[in-house]
Amino acid sequence: MKKRIATVSLAGCFGCHMSLLDIDERLLDLLKLVEFDRSPFNDFKRFTGRCDIGLVEGGCCNEENVHTLHEFRANCDILVAVGQCAVMGGLPVMRNAIMHAEDPLRECLETAYLDSEYVLNPTNSIPNDPALPLLLDKVYTLADVVKVDYQIPGCPPSSETLWQTLNALITGHRQRLPYELIKYD
């Protein structure tokens, strides 16, 4: 039986997904072992069945992220937070630093779209299309929102790290990652 894998990028940059693609021709080996369910790799937007492994890139910055993450948690046996944003919030979490303002979210949006001298915004408006998901009051890591089984740090984690981790999860053989793969300085 092939393992079923789902992947998604929430408040991330798809860098972790690109890093997974960097396993290059080993993708062919991977596809002998797994079948992708919901994932940007195959553009499936919904789950077609229960998955063994869910890989989630990025943290939660809006309501849609939360909704998607809840779906992943409900449909995946093992949930893996992939990369710095998923584990710690990454770049998006920098907006949490505006915590001492009276209205942090407003201050964040006004700085980003109105006040900064580097912004060209002739209509002087903050994007608010009804199709845009509402932002959360701050950025949450995956573990803030759901139970996470494994976390892979790195920005992005190298393709080798992802390959070895996936192998271990698929075969069920726990292995120690070599030092070069888990040092980040």
Binding site: E63, E64, V66, H67, H70, R73, A74, L79, D103, P104, L105, R106, L109, N128, P130, P133, L134, L135, L136, D137, K138, Y140, A143, D144, V145, V146, K147
Partner: protein, 615 residues
């Protein structure tokens, strides 16, 4: 004609320069300089920091660092009368909140505020060493205890009508608190006098016997007696003395640690009041034993009401030829009093030395130990008030006599400060090895359900453990024993202790500065019912990390309330934990996370507001 701001500032600078000069423009006396500036101007104004720095040859930022570090300093003016209400957990249980409301209502300001006319400041402060007569407060230096709403009202009205703190009509204390030099309503609450310290002790008998023996024999006697430091850490006093004596140096120091800040401890307060001579005698013996000529008593700011009395005792002893650099008496040893400025961490010996040197009360790296390189880099013995008192008794009666009390590892007797839910709170002098149950019987605490032994940094034990014994082999303590009945909320107590450590951490090392905050957050989550059983693993693991990786004793012990309650009160935790079946974190609330966004975007959520139909 109103004074011009310029000349006012120039006058202030002159006054500050005069203060600096009085301390010889000595950088190492910065703490004293700032205490005087604070007392004079009710703050250390930023514009005066530069002047102080110039005068003593340092940088403004060093001065500012001091002001921000110590609780008793401020950079904006405090009121003429500062009311510091103790909000220790024992005081809270005794009704701090009600008292706070009375002060707030009558003075018209909240806590942390100064009245617009500059007359009053209201503040909370951690344990002021009066847990046996809680709730208590400091009004400037004056201590008021056993506060009731009625007494608080009377005091607040009196102050408002213009009475000074010293003019308030308060009841009398007992024992030496009646001494006009102390004149305090504090009660000693000595419940049990043991043979070593609280029974009648002959004046200077130990000192005279010590002086007839060579210094090395004095040190050996203390070492043979097995005297351990009685402030909490329990390091063998004799070994400290030997290290200091064996380190070659031109100067050596003896420092008495009277910075009793461990919540629930007040036995040093009683010794300072009733056994000041014995303590100084012990310091003098130590000085003789290690050939030190200079001594310091580091007195916590909260005990400033004892300062005048202690100064008088020191002067009398100088007059008697028992102290004084010129005296031909015991080796020409003299003592000065160093006032603290409200920092728990300064009870840690290396932080205390930093503080005496005019630095922020940050611990130093060890080794070298203070006994090898301490105050100003010279070998320094730092000992607790009680330790020096015991040393004097040991030299009088001998090591064997001292060893006839206590256990193998903990010789002698111990002063225990009992507070909380018992009928007879106060100080008990008992031999080491006494069980908690025996102590609770003496203090009449039939409802005791939990006992915190060793203060905030100690262990919380449950009823089935009341037969455990107070000694190094089992439950070590610096003297604090807090009794809690079944109606107290264990996790509220734990959370309070963590708040205390967060506030008092010096901030130097990350495990302590950050780790304690994380411990507290998770305990808070548990109290709200938002945690799962795995969260206990997190607390255990984080607690262990903080304890193992912190730089000094504060962080080594701050996780204790968490770890000991998880071990000893598992059911209290279990009742609040939920097993999480859908994998969602209970603490994450999407509705509140969206609240601000809904308001800003002026629309509702398409996903989480199910009744939403669109405009």
């Amino acid at each position: 004609m109103p004074e011009s701001p310029l000349s006012k500032h120039a006058k202030a600078e002159q006054a500050v320069m005069a203060i600096c000069e009085r301390f010889g423009n000595d950088r190492t006396r910065l703490l004293d300089i700032l205490l005087e500036v604070q007392a004079r101007f009710r703050c250390v104004e930023p514009s005066l920091m530069e002047c102080i720095a110039r005068q003593i040859g340092t940088y403004r930022v060093e001065v500012e660092g001091m002001v921000s570090f110590y609780a008793f300093f401020s950079d904006s003016p405090r009121g003429q009368v500062v009311i510091r209400l103790c909000d220790d957990i024992i005081d809270r249980h005794a009704g701090t909140e009600e008292i706070a409301q009375v002060f707030s209502r009558i003075l018209g300001i909240g806590f942390g505020e100064t009245s617009p006319d500059g007359r009053f400041t209201l503040e909370y402060t951690p344990c002021i060493g009066m847990s046996d007569q809680a709730p208590a407060a400091l009004i400037n230096e004056r201590v008021v205890t056993c506060l009731t709403p009625a007494r608080a009202e009377e005091i607040a009205l009196g102050l408002k009508q213009g009475l000074g703190p010293g003019e308030l009509d308060l009841p009398e204390g007992d024992g030496n608190n009646l001494n006009p030099l102390i004149g305090s309503m504090v009660r000693n609450n000595i419940r049990l006098r043991g043979e070593v310290l609280l029974s009648d002790v002959p004046a200077d008998a130990g000192l005279h016997k010590a002086l007839r023996r060579p210094p090395d024999q004095v040190r050996e006697e203390v070492e043979r007696a097995g005297l351990l430091g009685l402030g909490g850490a329990g390091f063998p006093a004799g070994r400290k003395w030997r290290m200091a004596a064996d380190t070659p140096a031109e100067r050596r120091f003896v420092i008495c640690n009277a910075d009793e800040g461990e919540p629930g401890t007040f036995k040093d307060r009683v010794l300072l009041t009733e056994r000041a001579d014995l303590m100084i005698e012990g310091m003098t013996i130590a000085a003789y034993a290690v050939k030190a000529r200079e001594g310091i008593i580091y007195l916590r700011a909260e005990y400033a009401y004892l300062r005048r009395y202690l100064d008088t005792v020191l002067q009398r002893r100088r007059d008697q030829g028992l102290l004084g650099t010129d005296a031909d008496g015991p080796g020409g040893f003299d003592i000065r009093i160093q006032m603290g400025a409200g920092a728990y961490i300064c009870g840690e010996e290396s932080a205390l030395i930093s503080s005496c040197e005019g630095l922020r009360g940050e611990p130093k790296n060890r080794p070298p130990f203070p006994a090898e390189s301490g105050y100003l880099g010279y070998p320094t013995i730092v000992g607790n008030v009680e330790t020096f008192c015991c040393a004097a008794r040991i030299l009088d009666r001998g090591a064997a006599w001292f060893r006839s009390w206590g256990t193998k590892a903990s010789a002698g007797t111990k002063l225990l400060s009992v507070s909380g839910d018992c009928e007879r709170p106060g100080v008990y002098e008992l031999p080491f090895g006494i069980s908690v149950r025996e102590l609770l019987d003496l203090a009449v605490a039939p409802d005791a359900a939990a006992v915190q032994v060793g203060g905030a940094s100690g262990q919380m034990i449950n009823m089935s453990q009341f037969d455990r014994r107070i000694c190094q082999e089992d439950l070590p303590t610096g003297g604090s024993v807090m009794v809690f009945s079944a109606k107290r909320n264990i996790l509220e107590i734990v959370e309070y202790f963590l708040d205390f450590f967060i506030e008092e951490s010096c901030g130097y090392c990350t495990p302590c500065r950050v780790g304690n905050v994380f411990l507290k957050r998770r305990i808070g989550k548990i109290r709200q019912g938002l945690c799962q059983p795995e969260d206990l693993d997190y607390l255990r693991e984080l607690g262990k990390t903080v304890a193992e990786t912190s730089r000094c004793g504060l962080g080594h012990t701050s996780p204790n309330p968490v770890l000991s309650t998880i071990a000893n009160f598992p059911l209290v935790y279990a009742a609040l934990l939920k097993i999480n079946r859908d994998g969602r974190e209970a603490s994450f609330n999407i509705q509140s996370a969206l609240e601000e966004s809904r308001y800003l975007a002026k629309r509702r959520s398409m996903i989480y507001d199910p009744t939403y139909e669109g405009d």
